[in-house]
Symmetry: C2
Subunit: 197 residues, 2 copies
DNA sequence: AAACAGGACGAACGATCGTGCGTATTGTTG
DNA sequence: CAACAATACGCACGATCGTTCGTCCTGTTT
């Protein structure tokens, strides 16, 4: 590895560190609540240094969305690919998702729930990025649901409907739990178990 | 009615007008996105005039929560009380709620969905007010679910679980529809019909 | 060795924010 | 009539925001 790579990596790693922290902050304060100064202070950097790396606040928001997406894939999606496709992997998604909500990796819980609701009435690139992430997640869910149907499960139900219901219940579990409802996650687990039975 | 009442009414009506517009704005931009200057400009008032009526931004946020709550009661809860208690009234809630989401009264759709997610990781009086509104709504739902159970419906299910599922599905319908998913509301309707059958 | 590019910084900008002060207005109450 | 409380306003404040500019440092390329 030559020193050129090290320098490039240094910049890229600074970006990744900031974006990751931005995802953390945004999961609590929202993507709109992000500020360059706050992030710089948290990480011991200068405001203009952060601004140099991302150019605009919008770029920082987009980087936060991407970083949170990576975290979700790492903790929820990837481990489930150890399971065979279809119902086992689908249950892996759900189990990992519940774990991701119960022991939050990001300070504010599920980033997608927070930012989707925050941007569902807006326009622009950030909303589009949030929307794309949401679509990808639904597509992933529906794909495994259809595989499960090919294996003889859930045959009476429409795949999109099952995905919609799963997403709705887990999202509500995230919000309910964060609002202090101790029964939210067990209740949601029971409902999801019934859905997948 | 004497002139004293008129004056008092005038102040109260100004508050109500501002709070109602604040609920409208907050349904899109969030309660944190509210600003005294923005509201004043929208309504042709001075920023300090608005500040005088509410004192602090936090009071304005609390007034917005209360106003949005009133709107929800007016459009969703009250009309359903024309139906007899139990299953008919429960279905009234759901039908009115779907209508409230499909043809939004507030610009950003369901205020409770937006603000609950926005404040679910925070502390303070605004979060407490949002939480109280959420609890009240769940209590209202569960009360009619239990009545319906007394009438022979939904007997195999826990009342809290049914309320949780109903809230989750309709909330997801609100978010999905606002994200451009045309199938969100029909899909949610089908799921809810299945839940209440 | 010289020219270059990217990272990081301090400083400053215009804008907007919430808030407080002083004041004029208005209708009520002593 | 005088004292009063509630609006409503203009104005200014300190703070924070995103963004831009100039500069220094460092490692790469010619």
């Amino acid at each position: 590895m030559n020193t050129s790579d090290q320098r490039l990596v240094k910049g890229a790693r600074a970006r990744a560190t900031i974006a990751r922290h931005a995802a953390d902050v945004a999961s609590v304060e929202g993507l709109t609540g992000l500020s360059l100064g706050r992030l710089a202070a948290d990480l011991g950097l200068s405001k203009s240094g952060v601004a140099t790396l991302f150019g605009t606040k919008e770029n920082l928001q987009l980087a936060a969305v991407q970083s949170a997406r990576d975290v979700f894939i790492e903790h929820v999606v990837k481990p489930a690919f150890a399971e065979p496709g279809g119902m086992p992997r689908l249950k892996g998604f759900v189990d990992n998702w519940f774990a991701y909500i119960e022991e939050p990796v990001l300070a504010g819980g599920c980033f997608r729930v927070a930012t989707t609701v925050e941007f569902d009435s807006r326009t622009g690139p950030v909303r589009d990025a949030v929307d794309a992430d949401r679509r990808d997640w639904f597509a992933l869910l529906e794909k495994e649901i259809r595989r499960a149907q090919g294996q003889g499960h859930l045959e009476t139900r429409d795949a999109h409907t099952v995905a919609f219901a799963l997403d709705a219940i887990v999202a509500a579990a995230n919000t309910g739990a964060r609002m202090g409802d101790q029964s939210a996650i067990p209740t949601a687990r029971a409902i999801v178990d019934g859905l997948l039975a």
